[in-house]
Symmetry: none
Subunit: 216 residues, 4 copies
């Protein structure tokens, strides 16, 4: 592997700034985190999207959240077939090894992955149907929910609804992991479904009693 | 799915604080990001570990980095078999849709995933060899590198070397994606391998000329 | 004193959030509290333990409780010898200056101080017997109660009983303060002994008629 | 001890509210805190004053801060004489057992203890000079700083300066604990001196370079 390059200078400069300020102010804590290990209270499953940084929204500092980020904050169903399952591995580590108390799935507005799923399911993006489209095959996880939104006329509303269904899909799939369901049922783990609006800074949570999202 | 709970009050309170300060100060930017879409300069592949928040280390704000986080910042080899591949989907979206200019793999010290890989490969963690161990099967990606560190006597040094090999493994596997290699070879994308020391706040980059990591 | 550092940024951020929300909503009350002085209804003596925040459990807002927190919520006996007595000073201020109507001693489960006392008294923690062990010398206050629990076989039950005896010990010692006993006897002050279970969120009170703790 | 009474009904009602809401939403976390123990990042030494709740100002939830509260947030000098030292015991437990990374001394405006110290030192409160005045003997810790403020004419400014000197006095006395100084000098613990204005919700930190308090 001979292609790697040094870090761009602007990032080196920012890193040096962090080292001289944030690190310097927190070095005792970082050393303790290194020697004493991490004890995060929650795992967060969020999107890779550059506009959604959960550490900012929740003021989370080093050591607080164990964070998995993938396209559209999706969790596949339990499938212990011996293949590489990155999301399932992250969940297993958080729940079984770190024993986090909360598992938060955070969806968001303007999600490119969800928009792509909609285009694919409605036949407008045949390239996403190709076997070698990793995005398409990943968004297959959300495909069962397309039926629930396909008749919504307002396209913006349709995407928004499917974004929220992505959160619910993930919550449903989480419960297919037997050791996770056991912890939820015995009160050792709580699940939370959230959705944030990038433009307005809004935050909503899934309310199972009302089967809809309410503002926090 | 009737198990979801509202967000814990302490997070609601922190969110309200964020809304009243950070969001309020940046609402024009967030609205533009929502309507104009994201244009991140780099994709970062980092670990889920709660002690490594790349947005903090690099002072990154909303819109700058497209971030995928999984156990041990691993990238599997290109495998377009139609199954769900979350990491590959994130890479495809960043490179093909967003056309990021940099792809940074960020490893770190004290990595529980790498430590687990070492225990598994040396026969001390048979539970990780089980077919239904998602963590074990995910860490199989790193298994080929075990040979290179198995004779290191100092255990701390052994883990540290394998953590760095995890970064190199990911860089190697990235180049197996044909459309990614094409962009690297044509100068449209640069790859960067980094490793950070949690305790000391150190940062090193992979130097292919010297085949080792150097301090930035 | 040249060692002090600025506040870590994550706490500055949280403070700014509090200032923009909780403070902004209550500024009139906070200004009145500043100019008109505090008039708390109760004093609470609680443990320093990070898992027991009395303001949370009792929904107490600014101005309601005068709170002293020390290791294992202990009150030493009245000893007006001219030395520094932090707990006795806090009690004197609350009872004589602020004239609170209630004095609540709040014990809790999983108390490290009480566990240490048990280890010390049973000979398993000789380091706590050293003259320069501040924790050991502080837990000497509880030592007389060890006799009452030393024959309990179930270790979890033994700790739990000693935690409750710590509350009773404090109540007994409170009555050795002559001006406090006078107020209790004349109906100007009432004492309350409480114990909370961290895991289950339980709350019990000391019932002198039954000489045991009952659920509230 | 036959004087204890049940909890006042208004507090039982609030507790039931907490149990049904905050506890119910966080039961998984509280159970983990009970079984896995506390790992607080910081110790805070604050005043008993009912108007200063550090958990509110810093949005701290269960498990985050180990909190000692006494009159005027004072720390006495290291004195391992075998007597009961509640403040020193709390510091020892936080620094030696829990190994917190930060120790924050939080002073505040309108401090009755500091006002009493000023009255005592200026001869206006002879009752506080009595041997059996626990408040007076506790405030003796701050007495050495009276010399530095005695010539300030503006009384409000004089109290404010002495409140800040109380924070500095505590920081100085903290460094007389040999095992604490060792951790500060080796970068395992950082000290922070803060002062908050109740009326305005302000927050200042001690800046040793300038030998004064600056706004955060």
């Amino acid at each position: 592997m001979d292609k790697a390059k040094p870090l761009p200078a602007y990032l080196v400069q920012r890193y040096q700034g962090w080292k001289a300020t944030t690190y310097a102010e927190n070095s005792a804590w970082y050393r303790k985190l290194a020697t004493g290990g991490q004890h995060p209270r929650a795992m967060v499953i969020s999107c890779c999207d550059s506009r959604v940084h959960v550490t900012s929204i929740f003021g989370a500092d080093q050591g607080e959240f164990f964070i998995h980020r993938n396209i559209a904050n999706l969790v596949p169903a339990y499938q212990p077939d011996g293949a590489h399952h990155g999301t399932s591995a992250a969940i297993e580590y958080a729940v079984q090894v770190l024993e986090v108390a909360h598992l938060i799935v955070l969806g968001h507005s303007n999600c490119g992955g969800v928009q792509g799923c909609l285009s694919m399911c409605s036949g407008q993006a045949p390239e996403l149907d190709a076997k070698d489209s990793f995005v398409g095959r990943w968004m297959d996880i959300l495909r069962p929910k397309y039926e629930l939104v396909k008749d919504i006329d307002d396209e913006a509303e349709q995407v928004r609804q499917l974004e929220k269904h992505a959160v619910m899909m993930s919550l449903e799939n989480l419960m297919t992991f037997p050791w996770l369901a056991e912890k939820v049922n015995s009160g050792k783990l709580t699940l939370h479904g959230m959705w944030t609006d990038i433009a307005e800074g809004g935050l909503e949570y899934y309310n199972p009693a009302a089967v809809k999202f309410d503002k926090v």
